[in-house]
């Protein structure tokens, strides 16, 4: 990893901020190791996706405007350790403010310099990570919005192959939704729970020790299911795996 003069703003997302700070610290650590200076705007909150997906466009816009303001104080690229929240900023902010003379252009400018974490590492920095000689077996779950909204197919897998090599297990139906879907998990609880069951069965079949994803939202859901089943399988955000691949 060679030092570079790159500076980014980390938009941690509300779930990392409130529930999974370790993923945020790991993202900072990996980026800094790659020679990137990381700013963490202290007044960041939530991108507004829960309201947006619920059909509450006005409330979503309120949170989106706040987020746009927070992330527009500098022109530095924005890195998001979540495919879903990055997708919200990249694809849905411009749509949300399509007719807005003030926030429309701001939303477009922000969208153009926002990257999901692994996308930034691979597509922008082109980092090559060293292999870790030992560590747990990993199963990669492809989170939906990153996969289908941002085309995040190869980047996370390439990074995981680099650090874990043959310890990357094959997760059946890795690109099938885990059933989280934000409010969906509560509003359609039994349905969401049944989707989760299929995912947990696939994880069990994979034989992996750790489930890895680009989004803590899916991992919160999968992890809650694993814990309920008293499974020995653990969940880790991809930034945590890249920061410390040997961690068991």
């Amino acid at each position: 990893m060679t030092p570079r003069s790159v500076r980014v703003q980390l938009f941690a997302t509300c779930l990392v901020d409130q529930f999974f700070p370790a993923a945020g610290h790991a993202a900072v650590e990996v980026l800094e190791r790659c020679g990137v200076e990381v700013l963490v705007p202290p007044d960041q909150t939530c991108c507004g996706q829960p309201a947006f997906n619920g059909g509450f466009a006005d409330q979503a816009a309120t949170m989106a405007r706040a987020t746009i303001d927070v992330l527009s104080r500098t022109d530095d690229p924005v890195v998001v350790p979540s495919g879903s929240c990055a997708d919200m900023i990249v694809n849905h902010y411009p749509e949300l403010f399509a007719g807005d003379a003030t926030y429309g252009p701001k939303a477009k400018a922000l969208a153009a310099r926002t990257y999901e974490f692994t996308q930034f590492l691979v597509d922008v920095l082109g980092v090559e990570l060293p292999a870790s000689p030992s560590g747990p077996t990993l199963a990669y779950h492809a989170s939906c919005h990153g996969l289908r909204g941002l085309g995040l197919r190869e980047q996370p897998r390439r990074l995981l192959r680099a650090v874990a090599g043959a310890r990357c297990a094959d997760l059946p139906d890795a690109e099938t939704c885990c059933g989280f879907g934000g409010l969906f998990a509560v509003k359609m609880g039994p349905l969401s729970g049944a989707m989760l069951d299929s995912k947990l069965d696939a994880i069990a079949r994979s034989g992996a020790d750790v489930v890895v994803a680009t989004d803590v939202s899916c991992l919160m859901h999968i992890g809650g299911g694993l814990h309920r089943r008293a499974s020995r399988v653990r969940t880790r955000h991809i930034a945590e795996v890249l920061a410390d691949p040997a961690h068991d």
């Binding site: 901020d17 409130q18 529930f19 007044d43 829960p50 947006f52 509450f56 989280f180 039994p190």
Partner: protein, 481 residues
Amino acid sequence: MTESAAAFHRRIDTALADAALRQALTLTTGRLSGGRTAAFGALADAEACRDDARRARADAVSRLDSHLDQFARAASARGAAVHWAETAGDARRIITDIALEQGVRLAVKSKSMATEEVELNEALQHAGVRVVETDLGEFVVQLGGDRPSHIITPIIHRSRQYVAALFTEKLGAAPEDVADIPAMTALARRVLRAEFLQAGMGISGVNIAVAETGSLCIVTNEGNGRLTTSLPRVHVALLGLERIVPTAADLAAVLTVLARSATGQASPVYTNVITGPRRRNGAPGGLEADEPDGPEQLHIVILDNGRSRLIGTPLEEILHCVRCGACLNVCPVYRLIGGHAYGGVYPGPVGSVVMPGLHGVEGWSELAHASSLCGACRDVCPVKIDLPGLLLAVRREAAAKQLAPFWIRAAMPAYAAVASRPRLYRWAGRAAALLARAVQRGGWIRRLPGPLGAWTASRDFPVPASRSFVEAHQARKEAAR
């Protein structure tokens, strides 16, 4: 929750508890979507094919009025009678009147979701016309007093054993006639052949109509569509008014993706293009020449039933749909609950937009919430409809009409107010973490109160961090300074 939403939730619970249904759905949706993947993989440029089909459909829908006028003129010039049905009731009345005027006692039908939509069979039977479904799946549905649960494979929810028992009971089938699927198919064919020969009317849907020629394209795999539209004296085709393309070249673009998306076939077994009934025009050639074959009469009933209302609304794009069913086959929700749970004629992602679109969000918006917005449907749509975007549009309309549950309507503005005020947000986060710590066990919460209990019914909930990432990060930076 509204009564229609509560009923939907009950149907979901029933479906989730049905292990046989789950098994049948997993098997067939897996086979169909696997076939689709292989069929598109074999195309040199699958994306370009989807783009072509999308363009053809978007062209048609963007100028629907003029294309429909052109279609009606061209079809009339070639001897078809064109009728306009604004409502389902109009369609039922028009078709029933034709049957009674023509003295029809028996009508055979090829598969058509539009006729399901307008509940045509019931109307005809009420008027004394016997109706026989001739698509094998629909034949089974009709015999069993069932309803289709998929727009392409209507008995996806049924097993071979079910059909064998049904044929034995209703048709008096001998054991060797229900020994395997080919034997059952042969039995159905014998029964249906006799009906075809006696029917005075054939009723079909239309996959795609062509504006420039007034043609109807009907695709089937069993050949029953061809018999239905050519053998009886009168053919009635029910056409959803959006199911049209401008030119024959556009039809080719749609056909390139239609069967591949539906079943994984490069082309359906039977692709019929019907341009007018039997006629003598005395013209030397082309579409104006004599047509010695086909029915004596062709009636085309163009059905609106709420479709034209969608033009210019956020749901307009759903009118591009070619009803291939690919979005059902990949939908993780449809794959779990099947079509009946959705409660309408059109299930799955497409149905969750079509039903509220045609019949209003009041009774149907809950369908659009039965999606994690995973986007698998958008990825396979042959005409690239942004289905998650349309589901969101339905949700927006429902939220604007105050149809969301009370707790969500109350929570959303509160959440937005907190999340747009960073200091309040930090304070609320700390309060929530303190509260959660009081009820947690080993870092997890096993039971949440109120509506959130739906989460903990099937999984544990994590305890918020005692210190948020942003605060912890700031502390780290200050310590390092």
